[in-house]
């Protein structure tokens, strides 16, 4: 087995371990409640964390072997970066778990990590040679530290979600119960993306188009999903494939737009099916898992993970980033979209910390802010990388 195959297998092992651990954490949360002794819950819990640790070690194994094989830290394209982010989320969860020992956190944090890794695996997995701008130790220190910071911040959203599920009255129609369902829907949409990409990958769908780019050059592009939108003045080159419904202006990347729209369509259908089967909002199904969590503690975990993550994020996403930018681009700050979004994330969490100083911003409001913070982080990862291209844009 070559190193790179080994690396891939380790990632798979980690993925499976996280799935199993999620179920075990489910057992740990439910365990104590159904008349069983609290000990039973504890047993489930310790088994769950052991499996999580096994998965995490396998995941680190993936990271290290790929690093050795590629000769550079595996955070240099979308697949690598997103996978690493998923791994760090698990790492951050383990850290917080060992402080607070709350199994409900695992039940919600691991699925999020799983979704992130599944999302990552939809990108091309090739090992890319490095372009000159990426050849810098500072860059890797910057990217890895920033990702670790973000993943610790993400745990606060997990705590926030649990807090909200527990404290929102889902039997009443309200803004809150609507938005918490929106959060559930958003998670299903990511699964929609995974489903779409997997399906068309497995069937090997390929359609070639020629198009005119923004600078007037004729180029070619291969779609891996049936084209809903065509690139600027596109023409289908492959026979018997779907013609796009409409062409878009040159500034929009219609291929990415198509993937996004497909994901939303399939994700919505998926959501619809789930709702038809369970006949209740998804949040209602999830609520019992959160019921036994202590609100006060969840609120504190949410705040504490921001406190732990904020300095790490500052160091990685701003300070190390500036040092790298100074070395590579001759200026430590250039208002590049990726830089701006790091700043926005940072300002947001600064606002979060200050709002908590005022009365009435603990509890629900704080939990919502944590969830919004996670949305901003995911926006950084997905939209800023894929849509708003900048110096750092990996996907190209």
């Amino acid at each position: 087995m070559s190193l790179i195959d080994l690396s891939g297998n380790l990632l798979f092992v980690a993925f499976v371990a996280y799935l199993i651990a999620t179920l075990l954490f489910g057992g740990a949360v439910k365990g104590g409640s159904k008349g069983e002794s609290a000990d039973a819950g504890k047993k489930w819990g310790s088994l769950a964390i052991i499996i999580t640790l096994v998965g995490f070690i396998a995941n680190l194994g993936y990271f290290i072997t790929r690093w050795v094989y590629a000769g550079h830290a595996p955070v240099s394209n979308m697949f690598e970066f997103t996978t690493a982010f998923g791994m760090f989320v698990v790492g951050a969860f383990i850290l917080i778990y060992f402080i607070y020992k709350v199994p409900a956190l695992g039940l919600f944090a691991l699925p999020i990590a799983i979704i992130i890794i599944a999302y990552a695996s939809m990108f091309p997995r090739e090992v890319n040679p490095l372009i000159p701008a990426l050849k810098s130790y500072w860059l890797y220190i910057h990217v890895i530290t920033a990702a670790i910071g973000e993943s610790i911040l993400a745990i606060s959203a997990v705590a926030g979600l649990i807090y909200l599920l527990k404290n929102i009255d889902l039997t009443k129609r309200s803004k809150e119960s609507f938005w918490i369902e929106v959060v559930m829907y958003a998670l299903i949409l990511v699964l929609g993306f995974v489903a779409v990409t997997t399906t068309f990958n497995v069937t090997g769908y390929e359609a070639e188009f020629s198009y005119i780019d923004k600078d007037g050059n004729t180029k070619e592009i291969t779609y891996n999903t049936p084209a809903l939108f065509g690139m600027h003045q596109s023409e289908l080159l492959t026979a018997d494939k779907m013609e796009p419904i409409a062409n878009v202006p040159a500034i929009v990347n219609a291929k990415k737009l198509t993937t996004v729209v497909w994901s939303i369509l399939i994700g919505t259908v998926l959501y619809g099916i789930i709702r038809l089967i369970i006949r209740k909002p998804i949040a209602v199904i999830m609520q019992p898992f959160a019921k036994r969590a202590n609100s006060q503690l969840m609120d504190e975990i949410g705040y504490r993970s921001v406190l732990i993550g904020f300095p790490v994020f500052t160091l990685g996403a701003l300070i190390f980033a500036m040092i790298w930018a100074q070395e590579a681009w001759s200026r430590f700050w250039g208002w590049d979209p990726k830089e701006v979004w790091a700043l926005i994330t940072w300002l947001f969490y600064a606002a979060f910390l200050h709002l908590r100083l005022s009365k009435g911003w603990q509890g629900k409001k704080s939990a919502w802010l944590a969830v919004i913070g996670f949305v901003i982080i995911m926006f950084n990862l997905v939209a800023v990388n894929l849509i708003i291209a900048g110096l750092h844009s990996y996907a190209g």
């Binding site: 997995r125 090992v127 050849k135 923004k214 202006p249 500034i251 208002w335 200050h354």
Partner: protein
């Protein structure tokens, strides 16, 4: 100044909410709260006390955390809007007459509006900079407003507090205890708390254990870091602190470095490399297609020279070599506070053109001429008794205007020449216009012509010359910020108070500015060890709800019994 006199007799300055000495609530508002507001220890905060003069009002505006948060949020939103479309510095304008046209062409009406609103250059707009300025002022004012009284109050802390103060802490316990038992509990508490690295102070019937007070200064330190950073950024506007120049240098050239007086740079060679196919780990390339050439390296090999201090500018006769190294992306040349970066390049710029002077009929060459395109000579000798005079030179020939040849730029992209050829046969000279792919003979047919034979090319490196004296200040700001934010986030200020009352109770209360979870662990340890009364978290809503539920259930049961 009005003073507030507490029940205990202590005189507090106006604006105090918790007595400096005993901690009893002083204002009606404070009294009405179930739990004491401990954020700034109940000290007199300027912004909460004075609101008369215009200065008070401005001070209060900037010291308000709500206003601070609002400024942060507005900045954040504005920054986000600036990423809708690329900023003007990232837009290539070469094909358009101005930026407005470029935005309209690329992004339509939306682009046009975006540009007109100034959003395409949002970060240098006056109002964005004003926002940052207000942020800075707000940080300074808020920190002074709270930091100073907080410092005073923590420094002058008393051990003994009033029962009212303890009762109104979030963590509180009370139990009946005999005097001896209580004394023993005090001793055990002292021992245990010391073991857990608390500072313990005792007074008659009271005990204060405290740990990590420095954590309270974390936010203030990090705010100082931010201010240093913002100050550094402002300094760059001062002349001399910041230099940003571009230097285009051709292979083989030695040039004065702009902005770096007395220094010269020689470019020996520019290299551009791409990855070869087998370097791309093809076995793992899922898209087995031919891979596009991926850039591997941009590099300029240079020598840095220094002119003697008394040299006339431009005099390159006595240069001393300072450094010889390659400038690579991510590896700038650094010297004396300056840095030279590899930023751009042009490959294969025309360097020298070779021509033969030939007799048109016999096609016999009289000799050849090599013209340095960046530095052409006036006259070239050919063979023994012929010469060619370069009457006019157009480095970037762009066609004729009013019969006159034009050049678009000083770069030798498309050279054209007006030659006058003197030979023994044509002593008066024949004029010929020569450009790539065309030869004109404006003054009638000539006997001789300049025949193009070869061209030499070379590469040009685009370097950025940068000096940034503020970097050290910015770095200092960053380090101070990190120090403060780490102290403030990873440590917490924990306190525990014990009080023996006259009527035979032992009271315990505790406060921490954050991380109640760890505080409670400490409390659990000491409660068990020193047999203190069991404490309650008066803030735990779940616990309250559960208690309430239990009570109502108990009542039901009682009802059943009857």
């Amino acid at each position: 100044m009005k003073k507030i006199i507490c029940e205990c007799g202590h005189e507090n300055p106006e604006g105090t909410t918790l007595c400096e000495k005993c901690g009893s609530p002083l204002t009606e508002e404070e009294k009405s709260k179930k739990l004491a507001d401990m954020r700034y220890e109940g000290t007199a905060i300027r912004s909460k006390t004075y609101n008369k003069t215009i200065i008070d009002k401005i001070w209060n505006f900037f010291s308000s955390v709500k206003v601070g948060v609002a400024i942060i949020i507005i900045t954040l939103v504005a920054a986000g809007i600036g990423t809708f479309l690329p900023q003007v510095i990232y837009v290539s304008l070469t094909e358009y007459q101005d930026a407005a046209a470029a935005y309209k062409a690329a992004y339509g009406t939306f682009g046009s509006i975006y540009y007109k609103l100034g959003l395409a250059d949002i970060y240098s707009s006056w109002w964005f900079q004003t926002l940052i300025g207000m942020l800075g002022i707000s940080i300074i004012v808020a920190s002074l407003d709270r930091g100073i009284p907080l410092y005073k109050s923590l420094k002058n802390q008393r051990v003994k507090r009033h029962e009212n103060f303890l009762k109104r802490q979030r963590i509180f316990a009370s139990g009946e205890m005999s005097a001896e038992e209580a004394d023993k509990a005090f001793d055990l508490t002292e021992a245990k708390m010391k073991e857990m690295k608390y500072n313990v102070r005792r007074e008659e019937g009271a005990l204060l254990a405290e740990k990590g007070r420095f954590a309270r200064w974390g936010p203030y330190i990090n705010h100082v870091g931010l201010i240093i950073f913002l100050f550094g950024v402002m300094l760059r506007l001062m002349p001399g602190f910041y230099i940003d120049k571009t230097l285009w240098i051709r292979e083989g050239e030695t040039m004065a470095i702009p902005g770096m007086e007395g220094f010269y740079l020689e470019s020996k060679k520019f290299t551009f490399e791409t990855y070869s196919k087998d370097e791309q780990k093809e076995e793992f390339n899922e898209s087995k297609k031919a891979v596009n050439a991926v850039a591997k390296n941009y590099q300029t090999d240079v020598k840095l020279f220094k002119a003697p201090d008394d040299a006339v500018p431009g005099d390159t006769s006595n240069l001393t070599l300072v450094k010889e190294m390659p400038i690579i992306v991510n590896k700038p040349l650094k010297y004396d506070g300056y840095a030279l970066y590899q930023m751009d390049f042009r490959l294969n710029e025309l360097k020298t053109m070779h021509f033969d002077l030939i007799d048109k009929k016999s096609e016999k060459s009289l000799g050849s001429v090599a013209i340095d395109l960046t530095n052409p000579e006036k006259e070239y000798k050919v063979g023994k008794d012929s010469k060619v005079v370069l009457k006019k030179y157009f480095p970037d020939f762009a066609g004729f205007e009013d019969g006159e040849p034009q050049t678009a730029s000083p770069l030798p992209n498309n050279p054209a020449f007006i030659f006058v050829m003197y030979t023994p046969e044509t002593p008066k000279g024949e004029t010929s216009f020569v450009a790539i792919k065309q030869t004109l003979e404006p003054l009638g047919t000539t006997k001789y012509k300049m025949k193009f034979s070869a061209v030499d090319t070379r590469n040009v490196s685009g370097l950025t010359v940068r000096k940034d004296k503020t970097l050290m200040i910015l770095m200092l700001g960053g380090i101070v910020f990190m120090l403060g934010v780490t102290i403030g986030s990873y440590w917490s200020h924990r306190r525990l108070w014990l009080l023996k009352t006259k009527d035979g109770r032992l009271l315990m209360a505790s406060h921490t500015n954050k991380n109640w979870f760890s505080m409670k662990k400490d409390l659990d340890a000491v409660t068990e060890y020193a047999h203190l009364p069991v404490y309650v978290d008066q803030h735990d809503e779940d616990q309250k709800a559960e208690d309430a539920e239990k009570k109502s259930k108990d009542k039901e049961k009682e009802g059943d019994n009857i």
